[in-house]
Symmetry: C2
Subunit: 362 residues, 2 copies
C-alpha cells in the first residue's frame, strides 16, 4: 500500500537503542570534535527524534558526514548565531556556519515567541547547514498551540528546471504541522520531487530498480537503474508544478535570506570544506489569533475522522493522514527502541573509535 | 511543449475587447443586480485582469454563474466585511457572504498594511465566495515591494483522500508571487491536482479524451472520457504528496478561518442558494524586512536567467518561469484586446439582456 509519509523499511539484523542512548551518543561524538556540550545535547535530541520518528535517512545516519565536514573545516563548532534583521513579526538569523539543527531550533523558538504577540511570525536563516528532517522544525510550534511551517533549500542540486538538463534545483522540501486534540497532529513533510535522493541511494544499495517517474536521463527518457543516478536527475511532483514549488521555496528560503540557491548551492555530499550557506525558514501561526485553540483542534480531529472514514479504493486497507505513520513509528520506537541496522552500527562504531568516545550503547 | 502556467488555448472565431471594456461590462452587470457601483468596479477590474492574464476559466466566463447565485439569494450584495480577530501581524475577516474578489482584495490590502510594520502578515477570510484566480491576490503585494502568498479552499470537492473514493477535497490552490527587477515577477499559481476541473470540462466540450493521470474512476483505473467525469475524481500531484498539500491548504485556509472544508464544502456549480462559507488566506512578506528590495529583485532576476539558460531536453524549445506565459498574455492582451470566443459572447449577450444592460462592447 502506498504510504503517506516515509515509512521506515523493515530492517533485518538490527539491534535497538533507546532514544536517550542515541541522544547521548550523538552528544558525546559532537562534544569530542569540539562542539560545546549544551549545543551537542540539543543537536543530539533533535537527531534522536528524527530517528525515533522514522526519518532514518535524516537522523544518526548523517553523523559520520557531519563529523567529516567538521574535520574538513566546513562547519563552525562555536557559531555566533545572531539576528541580523528584525521586525515585530519577522527576523533573519545569520547562523555563522553552525550546524543547521542548532540554528533552526533558535529560529523556531524565536518565531513562536514573536507569533505570541503578532499572530504570525516568519524567521529565516542564512549561513546555516543541513538540519535533518523538515518535519522536526514544523512540529516545534505545536506544543505552544501554534501551527508550524518549514521550508528549506536542499543541500545538493538534483533537478533541472522543467524542460532543462542543468541541475539548478534541489528537492527543496516543505513541512506543515497542525495540532489535533485527541488525534496526533497532522504533519506533512515532503520533498518537491517524486522521490527524495536518499531513496534512490537506498535502491542502489539494495540492488533494486527504480519505478518509472523517479528519474530521467539527460535524454528525457526514464532512468530505472539507481546505480546510474549520476547520469540523470530527479523528477518534480506534477511536472511543471513541482518545478514551480521547488523554485518558489528556493526563493523564499534561499534568496530572501541571502542564502545559496541555484548555481551557488554546494553539494554537501561531495564537498566537505566549502561553506554551504544553507537557507531555511520557519513560520509560526498562533491558532488563538484566529479561534480558541480547543475549538480548532477538535475541528482538525473531525477532518482527520472524515478522511479516515472515506470508502477505499480496491486494494487499499487504510487511508492515512500525513504524519500518521511517523507518529506510529515514534510510539513504537519510544517503547521498544530505535533499530540500528548492522551496516549503520559498523559505521557508528568506527566513528566512535575515530573520535575517541564510547560506542553507541544497546 | 508543456507549459508552466495555464496557457490560453488558441481561440477560433473570437472577437476582442479592451480590458477597460471588459471591466465596464462586468461593473454594469453587477450594478444592475444590486451591487454598489464602487464595489462592482473593483470586482470588474479584478475579473478583467484575470482574463487579461490568460486565466480565462476564472474571468468573465464565471459572470453568468455569479449572477445566477446572486439571483438565487446565495450571495450578499451589500456585505459588511469586518475584522473579527486581529493582532499586529494577523487578522481574520468575516466576508458576510459577499463576492470573494471584494473580500480578498480587502484581505490583501490589510496584509500589506500590516506587513509594512511587522515584516510579515497573514490575513484569513471566512464567509467568502469564489474569488477568481489565485495568482491575482498573490500579485497584489508585489507593487508594495512585498512577496505575496495565497491559499484557498476550492469551491467544489473533486478529490478523495489518497486511497479513498469519497470526494472530500477540492483542488485547493496555492499562488506565490515574488518581485523581479528588470524581469517580470515570478508567479506560481497552481492547483494541487494534476488537472484543474475546468480543464476536464474544456476537454469534454471539445470532444477530446483526457491524458492518463488526470482522473481515475471509483475502481482506481484511469478515466479518459471527460464526459464521464462525474464517475471518477481528479488525481493529486505526486500522489500522496498532492493529497497532503490539498489537505494542509484546506486546514490553513478553511478550518483555521472557521470556513468550510471537507464535507461542509458546497458545490458552487450545483447549488446556487446555499451560503458557501468559502475560506481563503493572503500572506504578505515585506522584502525590506530581510534585505534591500533592489538587491533582492536583482537576485531574483539572476535566478530567472539561470533557469532560462539551462541546456534543454530534446524537443524543448524554451524553459519557462512560473508566471511567464501569463505575463506575455497580459502584454499581448493589453495591447490588442482580450479575445472573447463566440460561445462566451453569446452567453454574455444573453446575460446583458436578462439584467437589462448594454452588451459587451467591441
Amino acid at each position: 500500500m502506498p504510504s503517506v509519509s516515509n515509512a521506515p523499511a523493515a530492517v533485518a539484523s538490527a539491534t535497538s537503542v533507546s532514544i536517550a542512548q542515541l541522544q547521548d551518543f550523538v552528544a558525546r561524538v559532537l562534544t569530542a570534535v569540539g562542539m560545546p556540550e549544551p549545543d551537542a545535547r540539543t543537536v543530539g535530541a533533535i537527531i534522536a527524534e528524527a530517528d525515533a520518528r522514522g526519518a532514518d535517512a535524516h537522523g544518526v545516519f548523517r553523523l559520520p558526514a557531519y563529523v567529516k565536514r567538521i574535520r574538513a573545516g566546513g562547519m563552525n563548532m562555536r557559531p555566533d548565531i545572531r539576528i541580523v534583521e528584525e521586525r515585530a513579526g519577522s527576523a533573519l538569523l545569520d547562523g555563522d556556519n553552525g550546524i543547521g539543527h542548532l540554528i533552526m531550533k533558535k529560529a523556531a523558538d524565536l518565531a513562536v515567541q514573536k507569533a505570541r504577540y503578532t499572530g504570525v511570525a516568519w524567521v529565516g536563516a542564512r549561513m546555516s547547514n543541513h538540519a535533518g528532517p523538515a518535519g522536526i522544525y514544523a512540529r516545534m510550534p505545536l506544543r505552544h498551540g501554534m501551527i508550524g511551517i518549514y521550508m528549506a533549500v536542499g543541500s545538493a542540486n538534483h533537478m533541472p528546471p522543467w524542460g532543462g538538463t542543468e541541475m539548478l534545483l534541489s528537492t527543496n522540501p516543505i513541512a506543515i504541522a497542525v495540532p489535533g486534540h485527541s488525534r496526533p497532529p497532522i504533519v506533512l513533510d515532503m520533498a518537491t520531487t517524486n522521490a527524495a535522493y536518499g531513496k534512490v541511494k537506498a535502491k542502489a544499495q539494495r540492488g533494486e530498480t527504480m519505478p518509472e517517474g523517479w528519474m530521467v536521463g539527460r535524454d528525457g527518457k526514464p532512468l530505472l537503474d539507481p546505480k546510474r543516478s549520476n547520469e540523470g536527475f530527479l523528477l518534480p511532483i506534477g511536472g511543471a508544478k513541482g518545478y514551480g514549488l521547488a523554485l518558489m521555496f528556493g526563493l523564499l528560503a534561499g534568496t530572501l535570506n541571502g542564502a545559496a540557491f541555484g548555481k551557488d548551492v554546494v553539494d554537501f555530499n561531495r564537498d566537505y570544506a566549502t561553506t554551504t550557506n544553507t537557507g531555511h525558514t520557519v513560520i509560526a501561526v498562533d491558532v488563538e489569533a484566529f479561534m480558541p485553540l480547543r475549538e480548532f483542534e477538535e475541528q482538525v480531529d473531525d477532518i482527520w475522522a472524515q478522511m479516515k472514514s472515506s470508502p477505499r479504493l480496491p486494494g487499499w486497507d487504510e487511508i492515512r493522514l500525513p504524519g500518521e505513520q511517523s507518529h506510529r513509528t515514534f510510539e513504537e520506537r519510544a517503547a521498544h527502541g530505535v533499530p540500528i541496522h548492522a551496516e549503520l552500527r559498523t559505521a557508528l562504531d568506527a566513528l566512535a573509535e575515530s573520535v575517541g568516545v564510547a560506542p553507541l550503547d544497546g
